[in-house]
């Protein structure tokens, strides 16, 4: 029997995540998403008055999940989490660059 096939949506400009959906995906409340926006960890892609109407993309979900992990594992505050995420992204970017230039073993 063929496996069930599902229509998929790719998170992005055409199919964004609402703030409530982002919160639910992270097991959090919408107030937490508001805090992420205030700190600059996630970016509201379509500005709106009410947080319920805010839209987010895949990168925001990834950042929000990473922050959730940092909060859980290290008990860090959101400002520290934002800094750690920036540093993590930079480390990954530099590692990818070194790998592309055949220098991955140097690190």
């Amino acid at each position: 029997m063929a496996n069930p096939s599902f229509d998929t949506t790719t998170l992005g400009a055409t199919h964004p995540l609402r703030a409530g959906e982002l919160a639910h995906a992270c097991g959090a409340e919408i107030d937490w998403v508001v805090q992420l926006v205030e700190v600059g960890i996630v970016e509201v892609r379509s500005p709106a008055e009410r947080p319920d109407d805010w839209c987010f993309h895949s990168a925001d979900l990834q950042c929000a999940l990473d922050v959730r992990r940092l909060e859980r594992d290290f008990g860090v505050g959101l400002d520290a989490a934002a800094l750690i995420l920036d540093l993590e992204h930079e480390v990954r970017r530099l590692k990818a660059l070194l790998t592309a230039r055949g220098l991955a073993r140097e690190i």
Binding site: A2, N3, P4, S5, F6, D7, T8, T9, T10, L11, G12, A13, H15, E21, H24, A25, C26, G27, A28, S58, A59, L61, Q62, L65, R68, R69, E71, R72, D73, F74, E88, V91, R92, R93, A96, T99, A100, R101
Partner: protein, 323 residues
Amino acid sequence: MDFKDYYQALGVERNASDEDIRKAYRKLARKYHPDVSKEPDADRRMREINEANDVLRDKEKRTAYDALADQVAQGRYAGAGPGEGFQPPPGWDEGFEFHRRPGQGPADHAEFSEFFSSLFGAAERRSAERRQYRARGEDHHAAIEIALEDALKGAEREITLRSQELDDQGQAQWKTRTLSVKIPPGVHPGQYIRLAGQGMPGHGGDPAGDLYLEVRIAPHKLYRIEGRDLYMTLPVTPTEAALGAQVKVPTPGGGMVEVTVPRNARNSLKLRLKERGLPGHPPGHLYLLLEIALPPADTEVARKAYEQLAQAAPLNPRQHLGV
């Protein structure tokens, strides 16, 4: 499935205080965090450490786990049977009510072991059901790795998910399901594909949660991916770099394009092929990083040619070193 020793995973004694556990966890997390660790099995160790930390930092889970570990150690509970590995005894968690700590979400446990799920997964869900009469089901998180070609052209891939579900009697049962997932063209690493209603069932008639698949693209022999942009090293000869040239370059879509290498091109010069990266709005670019490949001086003719070049175009590449 084997019984996991969470104390051993964190390297602490059974009577370790909360502070001891916190310190041990942070020390190991620094050692095994995939972004900084040089250990070959850093990912696996980090998952083990996270799982052990989740249980031992939670008073209720730790007490229940200790009681079960005692039973196992005393041989009062031998497991499912010879060769079948460990299965928790029925009702082992009676009297405990596990729930996630504030700040924990469904994604936090997505990568934990079958052992963890068999102990705490079903109990957490029963607890959630008791506390919330109506609630949308939790979202599930998983990853799907595809080839770069699939990201460019789209594809249909099967994924197998294993998760616990409660039967009519409220007992946890492992269920495996295989889904066919349509990968749309233009997905890029870190993007999420959402399958509505494929998460956990809802409570009290509310809808099921969604399944979020994080797209990962397998390493490619030619291209490195950054967002929607692709990077490729393009080897050129010293002559091509010095005099300029038209060279053929394979594109990710399968075709060939002719690229102009400018005169006096230096090593690592970046050339951009506009909108030849991953499709999207806007599409990514293909970047070519020039790498000057030296012809070996392994014949008399080649050695002479290098000597003539040195005379014709004298160069001191160490001038800035003061030598």
